[in-house]
Amino acid sequence: MIETIQNKEIKENAGPFRIAFIGNPNCGKTTLFNQLTGLRARTANFAGTTVEHKVGSLGNSARNIQLIDLPGMYSLTAATPEEMVASEILRGIHPKIAQPDAVVVVVDASNLERNLFLVSQVLETDLPCIIALNMVDLARDDGMYVDPEKLHLEMGCPVIPMIARKGEGIDELRTEMLALAEPDALNFHWSRPEPVKCDACASCPYQSRFSYTEEVTARVVKNHGLAKPAVTEKLDRVFTHPFLGVVSFFAVMAAIFFLIFRAASIPMDLIDGAFASVGDFLTAHMPEGHLRSLLVDGIIGGVGGILIFVPQIAILFFALALLDETGYLSRAAFVMDKLMRHIGLPGNAFVPLVSAHACAIPAIMATRVISDRRDRLVTILVLPLMTCSARIPVYAMISALLFPHDAVKAALLFTGAYGLGIVAALIMAFVFKKTILPGESKPLIMELPVYKVPSIRSGMRYALDRTLVFIRQAGTTIFVISVILWFLATFPTSQAPEKALALAQQAETMAAAGQSDQAEALAYQAATMTQQHALSHSFAGQLGHIIEPVVKPLGFDWQIGIGIVSSFAAREVIVSTLAIVYGVGEKAVEDNTESLYDSLRRATRKDGTPIFTTATSVSLLIFYVLAMQCLPTQVITKRETGSWKWALFQLGYMSILAYSSALVAYQGLRALGVS
């Protein structure tokens, strides 16, 4: 005892009182954790792993109490990396993370037999422990009443009945936790149950422990025989139906996409407008020079160009959080499982694959539901092949080039591009499963939790949390790359061409003569010409020339080469880059896209033949469907896989795939006589 007290004092001096939260999946642990920590929680990875956890502080206390949300798990017998880390930390054998000072085990009152399994294992670690008896309302609906006092006597630790979703019992739990953290809390007496004896461990080490939990449950539960009809069973008849289930899944995803593209457009316009006004303000109030250009074109343009996708990312996270909380996501994985097995991936890879059609970043972060590491890696690797919303401007440009006045053909081109991305992703997934990441995908074992009404608040909190992770992770990289790309496109500076100077002079004369409209047009023409000249002679322009021999077999000239260089970090940048290199002027992209498409169509090589022939346009489209060209995605791939190795592999294979496919398409079309 004395030794324990000394240990405790050492821990006190060392830092906060740490309380770990543990519980079965779907027991409401995360909801409870969020209720207690509010916005003080943050998400982090456990040192040296990709296993995520949340850390937060318990407010309103003299003592610094830190709460750690461990991954949901059924037992301390670790089966997944998540469970391994959690189990090691709880047992105090993790090499880097110290054992917590106490544990709160969250228990689903409606499924006591199974939840007490983990409780009994946690009690055997001898850590001070509180049982949060959650979802007592669900138990009541099932016709059961769990007696907290009896459970307290059985388990020898405090039991707090609660409904975390409705905030009931939160204060009681907080009080209990504060009491535990008091320096004299050791007076707190534990009459722990005997560790579970294992008689038949050789055949099934789980058997005797479950017998024990069933016995305890029988002693603490009163059946009052008021079971409500099971809504869950009725809903599952539709949602897990082999046909109706798939149909309703696609209906749900379609609704989400509608939400993403509709609802996100408002905040996206606001963000776009805000960055544009800041840019305009700086342009108006700063002296012309490199600093202004760096701020306006480099940083505001680059960072703003990525941040504009944040609303979509946030809405997708929000929708997925709500779907998950209702319990529907596991049904979606269930019905898609059989189809997905054909390409060697589990059913729960499907929701990320669909989500990637809005943005690959939330999709990659949503692959955490896939328990097998290889399955998860394969899914992450192929996700960026799906057509994300940043590709839409590129598709729009190319469809306008190929079919300027034919909506039907343009629609077919879009469909084809989306289809190409999907087919490529499925084929590559299949190939990876056969080659570099071999092994049959893990067979499905998935709990289908009771359907619940989701909480908007917790959905928003989740979306906010995930979005902040994205901004924090990708923000710095995007910033640096924006500056580098700006540098490449700006230096070395060159003199404005004489023709542009002459035009500018002419504009001034006209302005002096009062012909302001014509003067403005001339000035714009001069500025555009200068811009085109400057970009062509910059490092980016030189790079375009350098890679021209490489991209020539795809039907691209050095100007498209510049476009490819500049869209390395964000694919949609190619549209504005092409506007500059073909001398349309950047403004045209916003003001009048038709004029951009017209000029691109009219653009010719030195010999007078048009650049954007059918073959070149198709080749460019295929290249942009399949190429990586998204630095934020790469940063997230690195974060989720734990190393740059996989991010670079992703970049490498997608570049090769994009290049060779565009090559085959261009040369094939040429051979068929389509120029």
């Binding site: 059924y74 037992s75 017998t77 089966a79 997944t80 409606s110 499924n111 037999e113 199974r114 399994f117 009541r140 099932d142 016709g143 059961m144 009443y145 038949a200 055949s203 099934c204 789980y206 058997q207 479950f210 017998s211 069933e214 449950t217 029988a218 002693r219 539960v221 009163k222 059946n223 009052h224 025989g225 008021l226 869950t232 069973e233 599952d236 897990t240 082999p242 596991s330 994985a333 269930f334 499982d337 059989k338 059913g347 893990k442 067979p443 499905l444 074992i445 998935m446 709990e447 289908l448 939790p449």
Partner: protein
């Protein structure tokens, strides 16, 4: 629900051979790490189980939870169908211990 009493001696069948809605007691789960997760969810020797839905994957019920399970794994779980409905905990809840008052007389607090 076809779980009428039978005079046949107890026999082990594979989990996926159960009728829909039929209840059984688990007699054996093959000893493989792949099945450990399933065991920690309650699909282990001595527990009661109900087959909710056939197919691949199929749905089972163990304790109060429903679990989606690939048929390949289900084939490695050996069960003995319950002779009568009454023997299945899943239907009637855990048997009451002698000291407890009768079920309906004590409504929840």
């Amino acid at each position: 629900m076809d779980t009428s009493p039978t005079d046949l001696p107890p026999e082990k069948i594979r989990l996926d051979a159960l009728e829909r809605g039929q209840c059984a007691i688990i007699r054996d789960v093959e000893d493989e790490t792949e099945l450990d997760r399933l065991k920690s969810m309650g699909v282990c020797k001595g527990r009661y189980i109900e087959l909710v839905k056939h197919g691949d994957p199929l749905i089972i019920k163990v304790f109060a939870s429903r679990i989606g399970l690939s048929a390949r794994l289900a084939r490695r779980v050996w069960v003995e169908p319950c002779a009568t409905v009454e023997r299945c905990w899943l239907r009637i809840g855990p048997p009451l211990s002698p000291g407890l008052p009768s079920p309906a007389s004590q409504p929840p607090a």
